[in-house]
Amino acid sequence: MKTDLLIIGAGPAGINAALTADAAGAEVILVDESLQPGGQLRQQTQLFSNLPKNKKKTRGTSLNNHLVESLNASNVKVLSNHAMVGSYLNGNIGVTDGFKTFEIHAKKYILATGAQEEGKIFPGWTLPGVMTAGAAQILINRELVLPGKNAVIVGSNDFAFEVIKQLRICGVSIKAVVEDKDQLQSEKQDLLSDLGNITFLTNSTIELASGSGEVEHVSIRTPSGIKELEADFICISNGFTPILEPFEVMNCKFTYKEILGGWLPAYNMNFQTTNSNCYLAGSAAGITTLGPILLTGEIAAWSVLEELEFISPREAHNQKKECWEELMTLENNNVFQKRTEIIADSLLQDNWNPKSYFTELQGGQIHG
């Protein structure tokens, strides 16, 4: 199979990249291992503001429906239920539908394979009833299954509180939030304000989760001694980290930025990795929020369109500059700062040329 652009991952980043490239006339194949496109946006029922291009505040799931409708109306060839399993010596990507494996040759690739959750271990964490916050969110919002009645939440980041809110709407009782640091990690007041009387245990860890065949009791080590709780469900929210395997088999180099999720592929301001045919977008390029995720997909697509001469360098420059400016305003400052450090590192590499708009953006200052 041959195409101009092959995108792996039909989450918000991959879909947005596909739509941008398709609208400019490029031939696009979009591969996703799931049965339906949408990635992790499919279960995000919360309201999102801070979206690009003055998109109005919307639920993640409605935005997803909108993206999928646009995809269906486009010329993008969507291969759902197809997984990328590797790469070939000639640089092509190997894809399987479970019956056969075949190679797709594209002039350019965008990997938008998203992020995975970090677990956390404690005695008893392998019992049924222990799951990540994302898994709990998928169960309630996508599969319509209640993961339990009485929950202990481990971790107190934004995502923990997002999921607590959704669990409570479903009637789950939150027995305690256990945080090993000395204060809660989320700073989002709108999430913290309407939580009511939840027990917060800081400087605390789970000593033991036990029960016969599933979670029934949870012992928590707190500064004031061991606290025993009855719970049938433990929900771990320990952050996200970019999925790296597809990049490794494409021979991309990695770098480390804790705030972006730890190890991640290195890239330049075109969202091009150290493999010049291979671009990236979305959570794969660092953990951030939905607005920036959509924009990274768009920047990667404009860069590919420029390389393949579907648009002029002038137009590419303008489009990317606009996206970068929006990215800078929409993204959390610390996250954006670290992103610019990755890009500043890329400027030191011979094969990556600095482009003026990036230096302009930084007021002539490159960090790193």
Binding site: G94, T96, T101, F102, I121, F122, W125, E245
Partner: protein, 108 residues
């Protein structure tokens, strides 16, 4: 933490076994993998990579960012050999072998 706590659930490897590997000279995730099978399970270390890195960092008194990740190989997803070998006139099989003798396969 109790040393019998499982770290790699796919291969049922506990903290004690991982610390044993470290005592026997393991430096990296891949060293531990070769000694204990940690990370060789069906999730291919998606679940255990991070906790193992934390144990390595603790043991060797390193920052987490100085503890690398495992070498990741094709196939990226569990797949039947028969499925992998379809259309082998392309470079399918070659790529499997090609990759395993690749240069620059340094230990991270």
């Amino acid at each position: 933490m109790d040393k019998s706590t499982i770290v790699c659930r796919c291969e049922e490897i506990n903290i004690d076994e991982i610390e044993n590997a470290l005592k026997n000279g393991a430096q990296t995730f891949d060293d531990i993998k070769r000694l204990t099978r940690t990370g060789m399970g069906s999730c291919q270390s998606k679940v255990c990579l991070h906790p193992v890195r934390e144990i390595i960092a603790d043991y060797h008194n390193k920052d987490l960012q100085d503890v690398g990740i495992s070498r990741m190989r094709i196939p990226l997803k569990p797949i039947r050999m028969g499925t992998l070998a379809t259309e082998s006139k392309d470079s399918n099989v070659a790529s499997v072998f090609g990759e395993s003798v690749e240069e620059g396969d340094e230990n991270r």
